[in-house]
Amino acid sequence: MGMGRPRAFDTDRAIETAATLFATHGYEGTSVDDLVTATGIHRGSLYKVFGSKRSLHLTALRNHLDHEIRPTTAALATLTDPEQVLSTAIASYDNGPAAGLLLLAAAERAPHDPEVAALVAEGVAALEDALRPSHGDAAPRLASTVLGARLRLRAGLPTASKEH
């Protein structure tokens, strides 16, 4: 990164803070002012390190996949009781400090941004793979059920996972 001036901030923490903002307010709803205020990082440094708001969002989404989605789906894949797998998936998928980041990216950004679409596809594929050991060919359909239930939870609506 040239110059050799040490960064006065923790890049990983900045990414986590940005992820929480994007997950709370959406991509368009999060301004550079919001990112500067929440991370406490100077605007110039934010641009120097991440290049653009879009690049920071992609980095945050990549980070969310690696540190939240992947560990959750890996744990799901070890469960055997089909009902427990489904209810655990609904309770824990796309959760954590930036809960809903994947869901929001899917709805807001994926239709316009192929790189976001690819990351969303990766996250959904990980969920399907985690459901396959317990649900076999029904895994893709149940992945849709999990995504729908997460959307209902976000909207404050009750989920009906026990009813079928």
Partner: protein, 121 residues
């Protein structure tokens, strides 16, 4: 106002300054190799940041910021009258400027145009 476009034949990002902005910025156009363009962001808030030292160009606070500025060791090129339409184009170390801050007619379209033209590693 600046017109940002992509010259695919020469792999360049071009910024053309329109009308009197040529005078304010002391430039009629900038050409940046796409490989040196790191990203574009719509950022109305940047206009409230300290501009630093004017190296060449024009600064009527509250009216226009145009030309070359030096701020905390970074070299910025400004052409902004209306902050609502300010787009930040971040450049790689090899460039003459670290950052361009330009007013464009349609920030959303300009950001999409620039971001689509980049290949990320």
């Amino acid at each position: 106002m600046a017109l940002v476009s992509i010259d695919r034949a020469r792999d360049l990002l071009t910024v053309e300054f329109q009308g009197l902005d040529k005078l304010w910025t002391l430039k009629s156009r900038l050409e940046i190799p796409l490989a040196h363009v790191r990203g574009a962001t719509h950022d109305p808030g940047i206009a409230r940041e300290p501009k630093g030292l004017r190296v060449g160009g024009t600064h009527f606070p509250g009216l226009i910021t145009a030309g070359r500025y030096l701020h905390k060791g970074e070299r910025l090129f400004w052409d902004v009258k209306n902050p609502d339409k300010a787009v930040v184009i971040e450049l790689a170390d090899a460039e003459t400027y670290d950052r361009l801050v330009v007013e464009v007619d349609d920030p959303r379209a300009t950001v999409a145009l620039v971001e689509r033209s980049l290949t990320r590693d």
